[in-house]
Amino acid sequence: MPSVLLTESLTLELGGTGINDHFSAHEPWPQDVKLYQPYEVEQILLPDNANCLAVQAFLKMCGLDFEVVPRNNAEYMSPSGRVPFIRCGAFVIAELDPIISFVNNKGISLSEKLDNTQKADMRAYMSLVNTVLANAELYVTWCDKTTLQEVTKPRFGSVLPWPLNHIITWQKRGQVVKKLGVLGWGPKTLDEVYQEVENCCNALSERLENQPYFFGNRPTELDALVFGHLFTILTTPLPNNRFASIVRGYPNLIELCKLVEKEYFERRSDP
């Protein structure tokens, strides 16, 4: 769950020991950084996968090396209870926003060339993605009955033994429904959710226009986040593929996904 609202529970713990620490700020990026996430093929769900991919894209755009370590209990290992998280030297940091500020503290930033207004825009669009796309993913995954029965329950329960797979899935669903409820997504119908997605994609597409990335020729954190979400939506098979078909209606967003995939994912895996 990447919503900016939810993220910071971790920076708190790190606030005193890690991020503001004089030492760590100037230490170079260590060699053995590990990114923990659930198993991609059997286990991971749409919202988690989007977040994991966004973090991977961000680290690759920064040119930082890391190793992806799949763990079936990654969610419970994470200090914030949400995936993905990275282990970097003595620090464990979960979720995109804290990871971005951690990396920034090492003097690496994708958005340093932007002026202040552009940074403000970037924050606004990131929160647009974090609120609309992330909540829509959660809604489709946990509140749509067909998807819940056919995809979410088998995948989420796949790593748990018999009685637990039902109990924990049910518990998790309760949490997500409660969260969506307070954010005002509870009473929405599936059609209204798709309408929100449509509006969000429309706004992103208008912002992107014909540029390769959102802010010119260099990728920023926003590109990593948008790539993570849209690529996952496009490639995850669901019983109802309307989600993906909405995104397909915006060719420039598809181009962005293809470009990021080509530049940062294929090139690394080839050699």
Binding site: V4, L5, E8, S9, T117, A124, N130, A203
Partner: protein, 322 residues
């Protein structure tokens, strides 16, 4: 349809036309788009369709959320976003989500969860504004709603102080972002206000104007001078009446302060409390009297006695006959 458009709202105070975020948003949008909207201060969400104010009425149309109302007004050609390019419209969407995602929870926190603000300012205000039986229900229910919101988003194992720090830090970053985006302009997109200005105004104005006893976030907002000017500018240009009213009220209250301090301002709805206390005392005393037998309500016994009396009479009559 030539029927007037009506809007039922929460009342204003502190120099604002309404203290409620959602009411302000609609009112500002209507002003910016030039829609002739009649506002009525009802201060009572009980009879509304969704249990919430504002309620917008135009003929048979009854709407109660900002997206619905603004869409309806746009359909009627009252559109504040008329001159915006598609890219600017996208920006409106993005910044609205930024406010919703990062500032809304903090506002809920300042209003309902921060104990000092809630007990000293917010609860008395709402209790005074609401009519008698509702004033015992709504403030508490809003408080529970806000706490539920917070619980669902943050792990409750964390220290509450730490959660507060996070919520406020998010909000401060959001305010900074807005301040940078606004820059030295009058409004977010040049010289004309748009729906984004209405939304930003609705979020910021109550936070800026309410006299909070614990003003951490308010102080942060006050330190960003362009946003303060932005709020003042919109209030002066579009709601001058509410400022004048507030000033008049304040000077009147200043003159009569000596008299009113203990009689009315200390506790809202004195009359309501007195009635409730009286009813409770009566009920308690009656039940005590019944329980200990001081007071007997026994219809059956009286009947028996009557019959006995009657029998006595009959016997007496028989005696005399003999």
């Amino acid at each position: 349809m030539n029927r007037p458009m009506e809007l039922n709202i929460w009342g204003g105070d502190w120099g604002l036309p309404s203290v409620d975020l959602h009411c302000l948003e609609v009112m500002a949008f209507a002003k910016f788009s030039g829609a002739p909207l009649q506002t009525y201060v009802t201060n009572n969400p009980f009879w509304t369709p969704k249990g919430k104010l504002p309620v917008f009425k135009h003929g048979k149309q009854v709407l109660s959320s900002f997206p619905e109302i603004s869409a309806y007004l746009k359909k009627k050609n009252f559109n504040a976003d008329f001159g915006l390019t598609p890219k600017q419209c996208a920006e409106v969407v993005a910044y609205t989500q930024l406010l919703k995602g990062q500032l809304y929870l903090a506002l809920q926190y300042v209003w309902w969860v921060d104990t000092k603000n809630y007990i000293e300012l917010i609860r008395p205000w709402y209790a005074k504004a609401l009519p008698f039986p509702c004033n015992y229900y709504y403030p508490g229910s809003y408080e529970r709603e806000a706490k539920k919101h917070l619980e669902a988003l943050y792990d409750q194992d964390d220290d509450p102080q730490a959660i507060e720090t996070f919520v406020y830090r998010e909000a401060e970053r959001c305010i900074n972002t807005l301040s940078v985006r606004l820059g030295d302009e009058d409004f977010f997109f040049g010289s004309h206000p748009t729906s984004l200005d209405a939304t930003v105004y609705a979020y910021l104005a109550p936070l800026l104007k309410a006299p909070f006893p614990s003003p951490a976030l308010q102080n942060h907002l006050k330190s960003t001078s362009n946003l303060v000017k932005f709020v003042v500018r919109i209030t002066q240009r579009y709601f001058p009446y509410s400022i004048q009213e507030y000033e008049a009220k304040k000077s009147a209250a200043g003159g009569a302060r000596g008299k009113t301090t203990d009689s009315e301002s200390d506790f809202p709805n004195r009359r309501g409390c007195q009635i409730l206390a009286g009813l409770f005392a009566t009920a308690a005393m009656t039940s005590y009297a019944l329980y200990t037998g001081l007071l007997q309500v026994s219809i059956k016994d009286e009947m028996d006695e009557n019959i006995e009396d009657h029998e006595d009479l009959i016997h007496a009559a028989e005696d005399t006959e003999e």
